[in-house]
């Protein structure tokens, strides 16, 4: 097995009754890579991501995450990944510090470690003064950045981001992506879904799902060349128009 590959998927499939949400997808993700996982609504992105993050059992096919098997080593996978969902994932009625302490606590971090790193994160986000404020009172962009910091607090090998920048202004999105780059530089693999095609350009490699299959997978540059398009937006539209499945 190639040590450099942190995620491998082979003919990974998920069926719900007669409906095949994910239809035999295969791909590898390398360590420290920012892997963009694109697709129209209902194409099967979230289902695929849920299988990889141990939230849902595949129907068939093979996959390993952080070197662990998705069927048998579920718990080990959970220990080694971070997850941030499209719905906002911090507790609004808890303070910033209480949120950090809670999430670090359920990953089994020691109090000493939590204390030191909390200070570091707040400083890094320029939020030292907000530590004891309720998350509810923060602007959305800050919340998202904080949620990302919390998702990688325990230094996971991989972080799964499910549409992390939905509803965020362009400036904050730019800052958010700086954080993603920084995480990748520190060796954290980033697996991200998005609907913003400019964000797709930031990814090292991009896969595009259509009707449960991966129809294209390459660097943004190569994809644009193959599809003879000037932007990722065009690439995406060319592929997504082929979809027969009705988005929900």
């Amino acid at each position: 097995m190639n040590k450099d590959k942190v995620i491998t998927a082979e003919a990974l499939t998920k069926r719900f009754g007669s409906f095949t949400a994910v239809n035999g997808i295969s791909f590898d993700v390398h360590k420290g890579e920012i892997f963009g996982f694109l697709g129209a609504n209902g194409a099967g992105k979230t289902t695929a991501m849920r299988m990889l993050s141990g939230l849902s059992m595949p129907t068939s096919g093979k996959a390993t995450v952080a070197g662990y098997d998705v069927y048998k080593e579920n718990e080990k996978i959970k220990q080694n990944i971070g997850y941030m969902s499209q719905k906002f994932s911090l507790y609004e009625d808890l303070t910033v510090k209480e949120n950090i302490r809670f999430y670090a606590g359920i990953y089994g971090m020691t109090n000493q470690f939590i204390k030191e790193k909390t200070g570091f994160i707040l400083q890094h986000l320029h939020m030292e003064k907000e530590g004891d404020k309720l998350v509810r009172s923060l602007p959305l962009g800050w919340k998202q950045k904080l949620a990302f910091s919390v998702a990688i607090f325990h230094d996971p090998q991989i972080v799964f981001l499910d549409e992390p920048t939905g509803g965020v202004d362009p400036v904050t999105r730019r800052e958010f992506w700086n954080m993603i780059y920084q995480a990748a530089e520190n060796g954290i693999t980033v697996f991200v879904t998005t609907h913003y095609m400019d964000e797709a350009e930031y990814c090292h490699r991009v896969s595009i799902m259509v009707d449960g299959r991966i129809d294209a997978l390459d660097t943004p540059k190569e994809l644009k060349r193959t599809f003879n398009a000037s932007s990722m937006d065009e690439v995406f539209l060319k592929l997504a128009r082929k979809a027969t499945r009705v988005a929900d």
Partner: protein, 368 residues
Amino acid sequence: MKQFSAFVKKEFHHIFRDTRTLFILLGMPIMQIIIFGFALTNEVKNSRIAVLDNSKDAATASLISELEASRYFDIEKNIYSYKDIERSFREGKIKMAVVFPQHFGEDLQHFNKAQVQLVADASDPNVANTLTNYATAVVMDYQKRITDDRQLPYAINTEMRMLYNPQLKGAYSFVPGVMAMVLMLVCTLMTAITVVREKEMGTMEILLASPIKPLKIIIAKAVPYLLLSVVNVASILLLSVFVLDVPINGSLPLLIVESILFTLTCLAFGLLISASTASQQTAMFISLTGMFLPTIMLSGFMFPIENMPLPLQWLSNVVPAKWYYLIVKDVMIKGVGFESIWKETLILAGMMFFLLTMAIKKFKIRLA
């Protein structure tokens, strides 16, 4: 363990941050005890009545003074014709009228027989019933006194003793009922909501993607509400002993252990609801109709189960509150020990295990 304590701490943060809900949770039992204890009572005191005395002799005079002396009646006014009775009722001034016919005293002396009429406002049947009973008792009392010196050929004197609750206080039956109701509300409703809220907010996904085990999540969610319930049981018991003079005749530890068992049953039901629903509104609705209404209607605390149609009697057997209510009444009022309530305890424990297993199963299915 570290995971677990972090989780429980977080739950307490949620509870203490929402001071309004906390206030309701802790204040509700106190409010209910006070309302039930002082406002809602079946005892009728100082009811206003009218007397129409057509006889005006020594016998009626002493009977009237006895009615007046009892703490149940206040004689509003004397009236002088049948027409006035009707009018007084319509005006809402009186609840009952006592009518002595002409020659009441004479009849009593010469024929050993006399009649008195009690007219009650039965638009409120319970009050009407109670009042006529009280009045009859006063009349009987008087009759007994005047016959005492004479020897009757046959006489059966009934002597009543009200066991366990000699003063027939309403508090004896509603304190156990309020305990069942409050625990039900705190545990079932609050646990159902707290788990569903995580689903609605999307934090549940993050929790499930983290290494913490679902079973730990469930238990950590239940712990704070278990503690809150113990506080509530304590405050209800303290209030009933020191404010309402309801004694705890049986063993206090037994009562507490049984309360915890009932609390766990409610928690399990709350978790089952939360595992089966997706929104807080649905969870709340199901808890209220599925748990709260049956608790009030079918636990025997408001309406006697013996008087219900058979199907409802059968249905009452699946209401956990019914068994808890029986247990609390037995331990608290009758003062019996575990040997007399082991059956009820076993049923409650069975319900708890059933509900808990269902909840955990349901929770796991969701993950797959």
